[in-house]
């Protein structure tokens, strides 16, 4: 017993380092598995509050470019509205949901990162505004990420520029789908794998979300094909996509909630359990 205590006292620095190092490694490994980063995230009162007050100052610096982005979106929506073929002679009975399955909420990005390998954004909306895990986040130009952690007033978003993310995407002109991932090299390009060799792909083709999960609806723009090559086994394409979104300049984003998500998940789980 005496010897054990002596051993501990003699090596206390080493043991403390080992303990603290292991704790850090546990936190690190948790962030590398999807939706596990529960303890250490910035959607809490302290860090959220600090970033919010900083953003109150820095938001002014981007006003001009953000106004430009919003004006572009306005003009696009106006074009859709005036060119739509629906007659405007009837209104929805339920004016809250407009009969659709997707509910949009406006949010501001109060912290943006794009230099690391696992980038996380912070939004100034939280549980109080109806945000929860697994909501899609888009901007006016394309996809941004998926909501991960939420507190009462803040939410963290796993950016598409994150090596953990696996979002399903497809070609716009055909229905061949694959998986998006990021090789952590440039914030302007992401990669699409698992597109079968038979798919007719050309440089400049548009890539959209496939709507195969209940997170993103089908048809949200992602980017255009920059270059592509066959993988080692020569069965699937590895495609480099240039993002529509400038991920280094984000301010106004929308979260998408699929109102039918629970129903779809239940149905799929019931099928899987049979």
């Amino acid at each position: 017993m005496q010897q054990i205590i002596n051993f501990i006292i003699r090596n206390k620095n080493f043991l403390l380092s080992l303990l603290l190092f292991s704790i850090s490694m546990v936190f690190t490994i948790q962030t590398h598995s999807y939706h596990k980063s529960k303890f250490i995230n910035s959607a809490n009162f302290l860090t959220g509050g600090v970033y919010n007050s900083i953003n109150n100052f820095t938001a002014y610096l981007n006003l001009k470019s953000q106004n430009q982005v919003l004006a572009e979106e306005n003009s696009r929506l106006k074009m859709l509205l005036f060119n739509s073929e629906n007659k405007k002679d009837s209104i929805y009975l339920d004016t809250v949901s407009y009969g659709g399955t997707y509910k949009f909420t406006l949010a501001n990005v109060i912290r943006n990162t794009y230099s690391g390998a696992n980038n996380v954004l912070l939004l100034n909306r939280g549980k109080n505004d109806g945000l929860k895990q697994d909501l899609g986040v888009i901007s006016s130009k394309g996809i941004v990420g998926i909501v991960d952690g939420t507190s009462k007033r803040y939410a963290t978003v796993i950016s598409v520029l994150n090596t953990v993310n696996k979002i399903s995407a497809q070609l716009k002109k055909t229905n061949h789908f694959g998986t998006l991932y990021w090789d952590a090299k440039s914030p302007y390009y992401i990669q699409l794998i698992d597109i079968p060799k038979i798919a007719p792909i050309v440089k400049g083709d548009t890539i959209i979300t496939s709507g195969r999960s209940s997170i993103f609806p089908k048809g949200i723009p992602i980017g255009v094909i920059n270059d592509f090559k066959l993988d080692a086994a020569e069965n699937y394409y590895e495609i480099n996509i240039k993002l529509f979104n400038d991920m280094t300049n984000l301010e106004h984003v929308y979260t998408i909630e699929n109102i039918d998500a629970d129903e779809i998940d239940r149905l799929l789980n019931a099928k899987a359990n049979e």
Partner: protein
């Protein structure tokens, strides 16, 4: 004694604050950020208890992690360099360290540069390796380590020169 405790608390808080608000957002050439908060570990008095500095390094790293959503990579890298700091001190300062009379304001510039360089490279390598978490991306890790280390070392030297008391 009390005075130096307050000095260290102030240093801790201000380094975390400036790292999070300013230096994490520089993104020079897209991805190069300096991590100047390791100044706290590098310039911590040598004669103090090693137990304290290891624990404080962990807290320092964890607070950076909390703000930047990086899990525990900063904490792990900080604990690592805090633990092996005596070895680096011995290597770069030699006899002065043996006699426990080291003072960072009054050592030779060359020795100080060696010390800072080794410490920064080790910290950054650990940090980026844990961030990528794969051996296949080792070239990218080394590239990031090299560029960010140069940036960090330059900034730490500039800051220490600005804040050093004039020795007449």
């Amino acid at each position: 004694m009390n005075n130096s405790v307050f000095l260290h608390i102030a240093r801790f808080i201000s380094l975390v604050f400036f790292q999070v608000v300013l230096f994490n957002n520089i993104n020079f050439l897209g991805y190069i950020n300096p991590y100047i908060y390791i100044m706290f570990i590098a310039l911590f008095p040598v004669k103090n208890n090693r137990f304290i500095i290891i624990f404080l390094s962990f807290l320092l790293g964890l607070s950076i992690d909390l703000f930047s959503d990086t899990g525990g990579i900063h904490a792990a890298a900080c604990v690592f360099i805090a633990y092996i700091r005596p070895v680096i001190l011995k290597f770069s300062f030699g006899m002065i360290y043996e006699h426990q009379t080291i003072k960072f304001t009054s050592v030779e510039f060359g020795e100080k540069l060696t010390y800072l360089t080794i410490l920064t490279f080790l910290h950054h390598f650990m940090l980026f390796f844990l961030e990528m978490f794969s051996v296949s991306q080792i070239i990218l890790v080394l590239q990031k380590t090299l560029f960010s280390s140069i940036f960090t070392i330059l900034l730490i030297l500039i800051i220490t020169i600005i804040f050093s008391k004039k020795t007449k």
